[in-house]
């Protein structure tokens, strides 16, 4: 079940899209030779897998026991087999369709085992895929790799970062799936960040660092959402809560009905001594089903849990992240080498080779090679002129410096609020801004300068007094990245008193050598927030509304989810309408999205005096295994919503799922070496899935490490647009994000939606005022 869900198998969306039945590939652009981190799986001719159902009488619960009983009959079944407790796979056919066997348990109980042939599977059948993955996991175990979560890691040669008690294990992600023409193993280098301290150690350290009254809150903030690894077995759990009233001395009821304390349980079961009897316990809402027992919350002892991954604080530690990325960000050549090591291990290990031989399987030793296309570079247009930039760098920051914007919003009436000690900084900023704004065409009056005490209340009081309906924008200089102050300002100016605002930390402004570059960036950002337009690309499609959706899941406060929703308002895609749907527990996100779409259409009508004839939705924030829900619930709701607009209104709808987190890596062959594929690289064959209308685009450029392609899956499409046009449009939209003068990983509406959802989820916690909805205030 889990495997199937995780890979969204069985969701065949391509078959419902008529115009891509024959071909889903594009044609424009120049050819490029690529390799990807995939290895072909090969099997001997006439290979088949025999699937048997295994039943026990009397019924046996424990998997291990079921397995032990079955393999008392190894002479009959053979040495090569895979068994998950109910389904048995064999490479050979048993003589009879139904075989009855008798085994005896250690308690002397006789058990009848009935083995029934249920299927004879060709190599490409979906069940076979599941089987390949089971076998592959077995191989990784034979290679002495440690399974943590879904991936396998090598513990023998760790990288350590003692400053933060971090240990990094190199390892691999792997999955075997049916791709366009063949079954392949997709494997990528993965790094597991582990910590050589227990949750209890961490709690003690934190105790020495924060005030007593803030301790529990801080602890919760740092720990909730983290994944812990138990000492005594190899399970990972997500921390969902901390129970401060409980302790290891508390008791629980075991499966046999007896009461036992955690201390005694861990002592008896795992020989684990719990030394601190007063520690709280961690709660994990387990989603895993164990046997027939329904999942319930799992209680974990901090002393027996190791932390894994990074905390928010670590992520914000620039030096540490630099340290970390020097180990984990591998350039293409090196990454390919590391990936090749897995195949090397497999090729060199006798045990593994034997296992593969017994099953009649093998892996190609070379990475999968194929051709992709590189889309033509897009022209960046600024009020009449074309910006010349180097498409390889995917960036036009320098090129647009000092050039007039498409639409510049004046700074006639604006506030500059700063703490007393940043008086000079504020002055310098004003000077720099007055230098950089005229060439852009931004008219700027001197700001109303207001000094405040460096306190949240002081900022808010000033805002209450000084902001008027005529205020264009409020500029706040902050002394530090203290989140509460930022949150309070944003909350006030997004809901109570809707005015665009710009917050900048004083440190950012303090370096004289970068003052002008920073001022330019700020001016562009402020202009975008006030509804200005910076640049555009050619969009040949007419009467189209582009929608972007992304989600933010709050793990801390009230566990709500927020969907950011943005929709284009004009032909050039330079103006965007936005709303967000705040969804409480148990509510469906899709209800909120319907309302968003309705108001977007109304707004579009206001701007264009008609309704769009095409709607293209870019849907980001879809988790693994959620595709089914999207296809079956969200898309029908969109259609429903369109129907409700009017009887004659039948726009063409395209829904594209955008996925940034994919394990696919692409390498361009250049001379004898491998490089990152250039921006605009499109892949729509080979490593795509036959049951989907999907493609990959590498839109961004990276300075170090490997570029990650973005996966696009068109799950619904009545547009009749050629795949080539959908691909090109998608790539164009990656140029339109105004907070970055370059190409980004996803279409701009997705990134806007992300920004909005993040701001609301992190700082505002409710829907911002609709008076701001036609501006990019959330940048």
């Amino acid at each position: 079940g889990l495997f199937r869900d995780f890979h969204d198998l069985g969701v065949n969306t391509r078959q419902t899209i008529e115009h891509v039945q024959e071909s889903k590939t594009g044609s424009s652009g120049s050819m490029i030779k690529l390799t990807a981190n995939y290895f072909r799986l090969t099997s001997r001719p006439q290979w088949a897998l025999y699937q048997y159902h295994v039943a026990y009488n009397p019924e046996m619960e424990a998997r291990r026991l079921r397995s032990a009983l079955l393999f008392q009959h190894e002479e009959l079944l053979g040495k090569t087999h895979a068994f998950d407790g109910a389904i048995l796979f064999l490479p050979k056919k048993l003589v009879n369709k139904v075989t009855q066997l008798f085994s005896r348990t250690r308690n002397g109980e006789d058990v009848k085992i009935t083995i029934t042939l249920t299927n004879e599977l060709p190599p490409t059948s979906p069940t076979c895929l599941q089987f390949y993955n089971i076998i592959f996991r077995r191989l990784l175990k034979m290679l002495n790799l440690q399974q943590i979560g879904r991936n396998y890691y090598n513990p023998s040669d760790p990288i350590t970062i003692p400053h933060h008690r971090l240990t990094i294990w190199p390892g691999f992600t792997s999955s075997i799936l049916q791709y366009e023409e063949s079954i392949m193993l997709c494997t990528d280098v993965s790094h597991k960040v582990l910590r050589s301290e227990t949750v209890l150690d961490f709690m003690y350290n934190l105790y020495h660092q924060v005030d007593e009254q803030r301790y529990k809150d801080t602890c919760a903030k740092e720990l909730i959402g983290l994944i812990v690894l138990t000492k005594y077995n190899n399970r990972t759990y997500r921390v969902d809560g901390i129970d401060w009233d409980a302790s290891p001395q508390c008791t629980f009821r075991r499966a046999d009905g007896s009461e036992i304390s955690y201390v005694d349980y861990y002592k008896r079961q795992y020989n684990q001594e719990i030394t601190d009897l007063n520690q709280p316990v961690l709660i994990s809402e387990s989603k895993r089903k164990r046997g027939t027992i329904m999942p319930g919350p799992v209680v974990l002892i901090p002393e027996l849990c190791f932390l894994t991954g990074l905390t928010e604080r670590m992520r914000n530690d620039f030096n540490m992240m630099k340290d970390l990325s020097s180990h984990t960000r591998l350039p293409p050549e090196q990454r390919q080498h590391e990936i090749g090591r897995l195949i090397d291990y497999i090729q060199k290990d006798d045990g593994v080779q034997k296992e593969l031989r017994d099953w009649g399987l093998s892996f190609d030793s070379n990475l999968f090679s194929f051709t992709g296309r590189v889309a033509q570079a897009e022209k960046i247009l600024q009020s009449g002129s074309v910006v010349e930039y180097n498409p390889q760098f995917a960036d036009w920051t320098k090129e647009i410096r000092g050039a007039p914007l498409i639409c510049a919003k004046p700074l006639d009436n604006w506030l500059l609020i700063y703490p007393r000690r940043n008086h000079d900084t504020a002055g310098v900023l004003l000077q720099s801004l007055s230098k950089v704004t005229p060439p852009m065409g931004i008219r700027m009056n001197r700001a109303t300068m207001i000094e405040v005490d460096d306190k949240t209340e002081a900022y808010i009081r000033v805002l209450q007094q000084a902001v008027t309906p005529d205020t264009n924008i409020v500029f706040c200089v902050l002394s530090s990245s203290r989140k509460d102050k930022y949150d309070a300002i944003k909350k006030y100016l997004c809901t109570d008193c809707p005015v665009p605002s710009q917050c900048v930390i004083s440190r950012t402004l303090s370096k004289p050598q970068t003052a002008l570059a920073i001022a330019t960036k700020i001016a562009l950002q402020m202009n975008s927030k006030m509804g200005g337009e910076l640049w555009s690309v050619e969009i040949p499609l007419k009467q189209v509304m582009i929608v972007g959706i992304d989600c933010y899941h709050d793990t801390l406060f009230g566990k709500q989810s927020i969907a950011g929703f943005v929709a284009s308002l004009n032909q050039t895609m330079t103006r965007w309408f936005s709303r967000c749907a705040v969804q409480g527990r148990g509510q469906e996100l899709v209800d909120g999205l319907k309302a968003c779409l309705q108001s977007a259409l109304r707004e579009w009508f206001k701007w264009n005096k008609c309704l769009p004839s095409r709607i293209i939705v870019y849907r980001d924030g879809v988790g693994d295994g959620q595709l089914h829900t999207l296809v079956n619930y969200e898309v029908p709701q969109f259609l429903d919503c369109l129907k409700s607009v009017g009887k004659d209104y039948v726009p063409r709808l395209t829904v594209i799922v955008v996925k940034k987190r994919v394990n696919t890596r692409l390498f361009a062959q250049a001379g004898g070496t491998l490089r990152n594929p250039p921006p605009g690289t499109i892949v729509d064959g080979g490593i795509t899935r036959p049951e989907w209308y999907d493609f990959f685009i590498v839109s961004q450029a990276v300075r170090n490490g490997c570029v990650a392609p973005t996966h696009y899956n068109v799950i619904y499409d009545t547009s009749k647009l050629k795949p080539d046009h959908v691909q090109r449009l998608t790539y164009k939209l990656c140029h339109m994000y105004y907070n970055w003068s370059g190409i980004i990983r996803v279409p701009a509406p997705c990134q806007y939606a992300h920004k909005l959802a993040f701001l609301v989820g992190q700082s505002i916690h409710r829907e911002p005022s609709l008076l701001l909805s036609d501006k990019l205030y959330y940048l």
């Binding site: 250690r106 890691y153 003692p162 400053h163 294990w169």
Partner: protein, 374 residues
């Protein structure tokens, strides 16, 4: 005891709680806790459950399993691999777990020098010829300090439903108490062991006369043998095949010890540096007077800070200090931290372990940390 039979009166079937096999394993585990053997072998280890339970016992450094069936061991051997946690916090003791494919009827030198050898439900599976060789191999050749043998008590069989001749088709025999005890006494006598009898699986009330469901004999060697004499007397060729071996990370291994010490030193130094810098920044003028008192605040866990260590810190002539962009933390200060102290034992060892791994001042007396990093 009554609990064991809760269901009996309703179903007429004897069910042991916990199950009998678990009771047998628990018996061995209790024995291990009592005698603290370092080297333990399980003959006929099958699915390795007993070994899996025993690997948690901190006294054991060598754990060996032997079975005639390699497949069953291969199916289950990964249970005996170290867990990620074993790598993250290497244990004090060393531990090697090995599985051999072979028969108890054959001698292999890898089985010499053990403190405890267990044969749980093994002998009843042996063919007559194998059973004959068994005492010579286990007691004569291996000659461990303690041997535990368990086997079914056939007198109990009438109480087990469905058992007519024997409890398992592969059982070559099932002995009553008299048979087992005479065999055991004879064996003990021949090889100079003492033996005591016990069992697990109490009979139900009213049937006490049949004895335990599983009978157990614990043999203890009378005269202690030195390892040298064992090895010199019995040179034999290796006949067992090694199926699996796992060496657990341990602080006994220099590599892991060094990692643990370096981790601890850098982390500790980091904490000292931080609190030092906090003080320097908030109260620069007080900085020079008030060192010893501040020192105590650096201790990450003040509660386990014993008194003599406290004086040790106070007596240090040198204290952590900041000079320009560099924080100097004397090695003596770091060594006084309980965890570092405990890991290294001696100051010399401590210096040796961190020598090339941590940046030291020119005279080698202090750890240097840059303040730039923050």
């Amino acid at each position: 005891m009554d609990k064991e039979f809760q269901e009996e009166q309703f179903t007429g079937i004897i069910k042991f709680t916990p199950p009998l096999y678990k009771q047998r394993y628990q018996f061995v585990k209790d024995l291990v806790e009592k005698h603290k053997p370092k080297k333990v072998a399980d003959l006929g280890c099958a699915d390795c459950t007993l070994l899996w339970m025993l690997k948690c016992c901190n006294c054991i450094e060598v754990l060996v399993g032997l079975d005639v069936c390699a497949t069953v061991m291969k199916e289950n051997m990964h249970r005996l691999s170290p867990l990620p946690g074993d790598y993250l916090q290497p244990a004090e003791r060393s531990l090697t777990v090995t599985l051999h494919h072979g028969s108890v009827a054959h001698k292999d030198p890898c089985m010499l020098g053990f403190d405890l050898v267990t044969c749980i439900e093994l002998i009843e599976h042996l063919e007559e010829s194998e059973l004959k060789k068994f005492p010579e191999v286990v007691f004569g050749f291996m000659a461990p300090s303690i041997v535990v043998i368990t086997t079914p008590n056939s007198e109990f069989n009438p109480l087990l439903p469905g058992v007519i001749l024997s409890r398992h088709p592969d059982h070559k025999f099932e002995w009553n108490r008299a048979q087992f005890e005479s065999w055991a006494l004879e064996t003990a006598r021949s090889y100079d062991y003492s033996v005591e009898f016990t069992g697990v699986g109490h009979p139900p009330t009213g049937k006490e006369n049949v004895g335990f469901c599983t009978q157990i004999a614990v043999f203890v060697r009378k005269c202690p043998q030195t390892i040298e004499s064992v090895q010199s007397e019995k040179p034999t060729e290796a006949v067992y095949q090694t199926v699996f071996q796992a060496v657990y990370p341990s602080l006994k291994d220099e590599k892991y010890l060094q990692n643990a010490v370096v981790d601890e030193v850098i982390f500790t130094a980091q904490i000292i540096k931080q609190s030092l810098l906090d003080h320097v920044m908030s109260e620069p003028e007080e900085y020079s007077d008030d060192l010893t008192e501040r020192e105590l605040e650096f201790q990450p866990s003040a509660d386990c800070f014993s008194e003599d260590l406290e004086t040790l810190v106070v007596e240090n002539s040198m204290e952590p200090f900041v000079d320009g962009n560099v924080v100097y933390i004397p090695l003596t200060t770091i060594f006084s931290f309980p965890r570092v102290n405990q890991l290294c034992g001696t100051f010399e060892k401590f210096c040796e372990l961190i020598a090339d791994k941590v940046t030291l001042s020119s005279d080698g007396s202090a750890v240097m940390l840059s303040t730039e990093y923050e």
